[in-house]
Symmetry: C2
Subunit: 339 residues, 2 copies
């Protein structure tokens, strides 16, 4: 167990305009907190970096309250129990939770989830077995409802959610077509993850790519990016198509009002639906979903790719911005302590 | 039976840019056509004027082929059988069908529907018992799926589809809030049709109106208009809301690319869905729907308002444009021959 006495933290200092800069953050040091009765003291090992974090930094009503100015930045992660004042946890237990961007956290026991390394590694628990996996699983299967033989298109295909969406589509007997930025990423999406095709939006026409790879139209579109790509896919929908609105990473740092999908009337022509969801709503069903995903992971049908960055809390701001530059392949994870 | 020998027709002469003008139309005269074997000769009594007609005049792929240049304008109507060469129909039968903008038409018998005046008048058969009624019925009940106590908002509330949507919402135990243009229309929507409220988009702020009349948010939005009003309602969705995309009359004459609904990410925040539909898909279920609507019409729970215009085929172009000026209250019908 660590003998550290200082807890390094990252707090939100200002509401960013566009991409967050150093001025929007403030690093603080506090004594490592002691657990109260019913609480568990956790040393953070790894933090998840998510596109949604940029939204949490904005003011205004959303599906979750904004991070307050001065507050430790909200972040999910995996940690190791150092001291427990609840019988459900003991030192050395690995746990998942919303620890925030800091090295140590004390949380009430019910806010923690036990992590079983037999099912997956620490980074995998932040990826396929964590929120990105849950997002892909419920967004694709419950909202998108793909049927065998149908064509599933996913944007952000090289990202944490996208990689699992396409692989789940294959497991369900669908044709999986990704959209990603850059030839190297696209090659890996097809070669390593087994998608049928991946359209490089930086290289050529997404419209032509969709025409070539989705000759029968798009039955399910899982949208992580929004913007122009959403519009191009709307124009290629198959009858009764389902458009799953998971995110809009292309718009999260926009400083001007975001344009809407001008091809939305394609929903009418193709009797299609566009539907949003929030993964936290599915919490009561996470456990069986994790079990099913872990099974596919173990029998090799599902691959989990993570991009683990070292540097601790100090590296959090620049690591988060890598997401919006599209520099990561797979789930972006920040290592906070050795694991 | 008429002894006319001339069939006055209206043909599409050019693809309109914006609102159709005289130059986009051509009037023609032909001999009244004689029915071939299996066909029925019909004298047209009344034609339906529909916002969707403007879309049929455009080139390009949609849910239905465009009207070709030189072709008689597509239009549904009610007519009287003059001569039948099919045993299913006899002279004096009243029939509905896609007769086109002309005084006489010969159609194959299976393309005709018998009209029973005991269930409703000729204009009502083009309204509540016709396509607008079917559109309201299946769009609201099958796509929107309102539940008792929920709030249903419908735009174009004084139009053919909108008036029935709001009344069906009331029959199903919902709160019905209309959006329409002008105080006179709004007063009639509430006073005659029994909506709980109607927001006058010409008079004040739709945002404020929604706030006032939908304090719990909007559970079902039935959209006939698109444009800015769609965006304002998206911002007021209740959790798990359904947005039914029926049309976008505000955009049908647009000459610039139509902007999309910039608030579409509200679908994500509110776990909501936006879905399009095409009424013709429900044809196998029209008969029981007509029977149910006719029952409500007869017991007074459902009112049918029509705006019947005289002037025959010659008046078709200017009558169609009245729709886009929002001048009609209820279903706009063109009388072609006395009934």
């Amino acid at each position: 167990m660590s003998t550290a006495t200082v807890n390094h933290q990252l707090r939100l200092a200002a509401r960013p305009v566009g991409l967050a800069t150093d001025a929007d953050w403030r690093f603080t040091k506090e004594p490592v907190p002691a657990p109260a009765a019913g609480q568990v003291q956790v040393q953070v090992l790894a933090l998840s970096l998510d596109p949604a974090m940029r939204g949490w930094m904005n003011e205004g009503r959303s599906y979750i309250a904004p991070v307050a100015i001065g507050e430790v930045m909200r972040a999910g992660g995996i940690g190791r129990v150092a001291e427990s004042r609840d019988p459900a946890f003991a030192p050395w237990d690995l746990v998942g939770g919303l620890f925030g961007a800091q090295e140590w956290a004390c949380l009430p026991a019910p806010a923690l989830q036990k992590i079983d390394l037999r099912l997956g590694t620490v980074p995998q628990w932040l990826n396929v077995l964590g929120m990105p996996g849950m997002t892909a699983y419920f967004g694709l299967l419950d909202v998108g409802r793909p049927e065998p033989g149908q064509t599933v298109v996913v944007s952000g295909a090289a990202g944490a959610v996208g990689q699992t969406v396409g692989q789940l589509a294959k497991i369900k007997g669908c044709r999986a077509v990704g959209i990603a930025g850059g030839a190297a990423k696209c090659d890996r999406v097809v070669g390593e993850l087994g998608f049928d095709a991946c359209i490089d939006y930086k290289a050529g026409s997404v419209r032509e790519g969709l025409k070539q790879h989705c000759p029968q139209g798009v039955d399910v579109y899982f949208d992580n990016v929004g913007g122009e790509i959403l519009d191009l896919v709307l124009a290629k929908l198959a009858p009764k198509a389902r458009v799953v609105i998971c995110g809009a990473i292309s718009q999260y740092n926009a400083t001007a009002p975001v344009p809407g999908p001008k091809n939305y009337l394609s929903l009418l022509v193709h009797r299609a639906r566009m539907e949003g969801f929030v993964v936290f709503d599915y919490a009561p069903r996470f456990a069986p979903a994790v079990a099913e995903l872990a099974g596919w992971l173990q029998d090799g049908r599902l691959k989990s790719r993570e991009d683990v960055v070292d540097g601790g809390i100090a590296a959090f701001p620049r690591t988060l911005n890598r997401l919006f530059a599209g520099e990561n392949f797979g789930k972006l994870v920040l290592r906070v302590a050795p694991f």
